[in-house]
Amino acid sequence: MFETLARLMIRRGVAWAVVAATLVVAAASLYLARGVEHDDDLLAFLPEDNREIATFEAVNRRFGGLDMAIVGVEVDDAFDGEVLEGLRRATRDLAALPDLAHVLSLANVEDFRPDPVGGGIITGPLMSSIPRTEAEEAALRDKVMTRDHVVGNMVSEDGRGLQIFCTVGYEANPREAATAIKAVAREHLGDHATLHWGGNPFISSYIYDTTQEDMTRLTPWAVLAIVLIMVIAFRDLVGSCLALLSTGVGILVAIGAMALAGKPFNVVLGGMPVILFAVGSAYAIHVLTRYYIHVRRHPPGEAIVRTLTGIGPTVFAAGGTTMAGLLSFVMMDIEPIRTFGLFTALGIGATLVLSVTFVPAVVTLAGLRGRRPETSRFEVGLGRAVAGVRRHRVVVGVLLAVVAVAGGVFSGQVESRMDPQAFYSEGSPPDRADAFMREYFGGSQFMQLHVRGDMRDPHALREMERLADRIALLPEVTGVIHVGQVIALGNDAMGNERRVPDSRAKVALLFRFLSGQRSLRQLVSDERDEALVQIRMNTADAGESEAFLEEVEALVAAEAVEDYVVVDVDGPAAEAARRRKLDAVATRIRALARDRGVPLDEARVDELDEALGRLDAGADAGAIEDAVVRYLRGDEALVPLPEAKGDDDPAREVAREVVALGPQPGEDALQEAVDRAIGDDVDDVTVDDVAFSLETPLEEAWRQAGSNGKAAELISAIGMELPDGEAGERYRQAVAMALLDLRSDRVMLPAPEGAEDARHMEARVTGVPILHRGLSRSVTANQLRSLGFALTLVLLIMTALFRSLWSGLLATLPTALTLLVVYGTMGAFDVQLDIGTSMLASLIIGAGVDYAVHLMAAWRPPAAGSLEGTAACAAERTGGAIATNAFAVCAGFFVLTLGDAKPLQNVGGLTAAAMIAAALTTFLAIPALARKAAYTRTAEVGVAADEDAEQAEATLRTA
């Protein structure tokens, strides 16, 4: 085949046609390449058909975005008027960005508080106006610092940090969203604050952007380094240019084909020129080198025929292995990597074809004769060294075995992990953001507990709250947010009790009232059949995150109730119901203590459980009277009562009479009591209205006073030390609210087998850590698939080339050793297997095996016929080209390590090292293990009785 091809190429007409066709194809490809689109979508790198990622996506879609971009605002004083004005404007403009589903900050968070004057509540933005004076700033600070759900989330406890939470919409491009957020935040806050960019969209964008910037900046230098090394080593400018030209056309063909196939250019494809120039140009160099040898003794036409018939199969086998390595990426479930593999392989294929068509055609037309081939001192030295290897093959074999074993051991330590932290350096913007958010807000990483169930059912809500409280007690957790808290806030606003209400009607109504709150969307579905518990953790380290993820999964598996029944607390399951209520309330109180920074050590936890079971404090009647008077004098009162005259206060009289009736008085008793108090002063309709209107406030007052008493008793019984001032009082009130759950008449229990009235709910952990775990698993599977594919294909090509399985195995062995060295190094230096490093194996197999191909193809006995001489001769003949290629590839990839992008540093550094290792193992393993005098038939190789081999033999003998 190659002879026929060669004989065509030496015809001038055909040669002209080939050159013209090549130039036309190049021009067409260049035209098409201009239309290739760039795809910057990070989501394209998510593996397809991955169950965990599919679940993440489904939850993401349902809740309108789980990707939280957090703008950290580091300031001297968060309550400074100018800072807050900037925050207000930034929040306003961020909310207008189409890519964001929701924006939340101190500037737009809604608030409510009791109206001390008229009764009822006051609602509106927590920051209703920008403070203009120091007094106003101080007043706002005092107000904000009493909101426990705001402090530590939107403003730091020390008032020196602010956060803006930006939820990126499900279909939005996180990179574009991150860019837009930065622009807005810088515009309004850049002059007043140091800004930090936390959360997954910023981190992934940083990694992507630095990689792309480095790729754009460094690729020309990498290519230049490769070209320079080749020109210097080849010492033939025309030949080098021809080789580079054919490689350039190969790149154009690949990009043009992408345009035709409608495939966009992505960040991974940025590496294509480096790979093609480093690997692809070698084919033309090999052809030209062989031609220059033959043309000294034969006419150019004959030299071309001898060259192509001789080295053509070897070059094609070498190119085939490189293509096999690249094509193995099609086994991966990541679209951009498949595109990279497919089209880079196409580029290699094009370069390969050009090396046996375009290059000989140009040689024919130009009559190139090149430089006189000389065996360099390096090649002679290498020949001697390889002969030495052959002589000491046992020692070398043992050494290689030791390296293989050590590499194998350390390779076993390589962890597959999607660790964003591993992709940025210490002191880089994501690192600084992480440090800021950990110091001021307890971290910027979130995971979610996805709960399915009827969220209008107060028992399902309480169960979710119990799970959330359990999770909140884990040491890695710095905050938990769920819809139960929002419903509790609504219940506080409408019913004065900050807890999940007892009735389904109340929960349903509160959901209706709260449905205008966009932030609710991140916590519960519109159908109220799914909810998310947002869990903030204090670690961004992937190892710790994974361990924590497993801990939460284990906790959920152990604690979550799937099928449940709701039972009366005094029914047949009374004891189980009592225990469950006590357990939930104890967990609530512990979680509240953790959240509010109230110390509660393990010894007291046991006391807490005991104390809860024996609380018997009564309600303070005075407090109930005061509550009733406040209601009657407030604007919410149904009817205004006559004004107080001195000590004669009708409201106080009514309160005294109705409280004296005790809790839960009957309707008639209540009416009589009101009548006794004010019956002489007002008409019967008013008495009736007052009695009617008092039923609910009176019941609330009794419940709360009773619970307040028990909270004080509990705190005293277990010796809890509450913080001074309002913070302590807020904790006591929160405990009192938790204790109200003990009064519930009905409680949920796990459903007995076959219970007909069982209700269902389920909880699963999801979020970005799950996404990363899915990615890690995908990377491992991809690695195995692509490695298996590449190794099998390469072995087949080698076996076909050398017509022997053992010879094929021998040719593959140096690359296998190189893989062990590279992966052993990764294991030893804790470099993780990620999307980038998982591509290494196939690249190394594809490019590295070429060295063995060339060395074994040149493995022919010299005249004297010893294997030592054969080794020396083969090394002299191919050593220069192999070393040049190894150094060129090494230099090209090393240049890529000089940027800021850690993924490029990892891939570039390891590939550079791998190429040197591949060359070394080739010169060690093959001479040590070779058993044959020749691995290719002379006729095929076509350089019978090669004079250069004679020369090498002579050199060896001299040595």
């Binding site: 404007r89 306003r92 403009d93 909310a95 207008a96 809604e110 109206d115 008229g118 009764g119 009822g120 509540i121 006051i122 609602t123 509106g124 933005p125 209703s128 606003a493 409408m494 019913g495 009735s503 009607a505 109340k506 349903a508 109504l509 959901f511 209706r512 009232f513 449905s515 205008g516 709150q517 966009r518 519109d526 407030g634 604007d635 919410e636 009162a637 149904l638 009817v639 209205d689 009617f692 209107s693 039923e695 609910t696 406030p697």
Partner: protein
């Protein structure tokens, strides 16, 4: 002479231009403000009104949600009772002003007084906030300028003059036929269009010598919420029924069965 007169003439011309330039907006403001007052009078022409609405809210990718309401309006006070669906049935809201509202929640069996300051949170999952529903006297909060006019309508740009104004800027398209809004665009202080309200199909009745008009359909689109759209379809409408002031009291709110 001409040399000495020329600067004087120039100065005079400049002065006239300055006066003209300064005066134009002033006249436009006066016209705009006057028109806004006329709109207020027209919108609030009836002694009292009673409506039944079907309220449909549509959101991207979701099924439409429907509410049914009965609304009584008198002297700027508004009483709303939710008739459907079941989870809100019986809920009532008594609105005294943009910031003052009493809510009766049947599940809680109590009246709650809610003072709302500058809150633009959407109400009950609709595209409307309490502020927009209660905003019926524009001239009290805004000063307007007529920016364009055609055969059928004036277009006004209204800037907030009162701290309680819910939005910084409004753009109103006023029907020349009915002197009532056809379209209102609400802008925040950054100039972003936040919501667009459209009032269509006005029908008019004689309100005892005064023409009372009301739209059959009222639509609000919230641009900040992926164009969440709520349409009020008027199902019933009566005017001047002699509604009692007691209907608009807290006692009535809780006692009305």
């Amino acid at each position: 002479m001409s040399r000495t007169h020329r600067p004087t003439a120039t100065l005079l011309a400049v002065a006239c231009a300055v006066v003209a330039l300064a005066g134009s907006p002033a006249r436009a403001d006066e016209r705009g403000d006057a028109l806004l007052k006329k709109v207020d009078e027209a919108v609030n022409a009836a002694e009292d009104q009673t409506f039944v609405y079907e309220v449909v809210t549509k959101e991207k990718g979701k099924d439409p949600r429907t509410l049914k309401l009965k609304v009584w309006v008198k002297d700027g006070k508004r009483l709303t009772e939710f008739l459907a669906p079941g989870d809100v049935k019986g809920t009532k809201a008594l609105t005294y002003s943009m910031s003052q509202i009493y809510v009766y929640l049947p599940a809680f069996q109590k009246v709650r007084r809610v003072t709302s300051h500058a809150s633009k949170q959407n109400f009950m999952g609709t595209a409307f906030s309490q502020a927009e529903q209660a905003l019926s006297w524009y001239a009290k909060y805004y000063s307007a300028e007529i920016v364009s006019e055609d055969d059928e309508s004036w277009t006004l740009e209204a800037e907030a003059t009162d701290d309680d104004a819910p939005y910084e800027t409004l753009k109103l398209v006023i029907s020349k036929e009915h002197t009532r809004p056809l379209k209102i665009v609400y802008y925040d202080d950054g100039g972003h269009a936040v919501k667009t309200e459209t009032r269509s199909d006005y029908t008019c009745r004689d309100g005892g010598g005064v023409e009372v008009c009301n739209m059959e359909e009222l639509q609000m689109v919230d641009h900040r919420a992926e164009d969440l759209t709520t349409v009020f379809h008027r199902k019933e409408w009566s005017i001047n029924d002699g509604l009692s002031d007691r209907l608009f009291s807290v006692r009535s709110l809780q006692r009305m069965r």
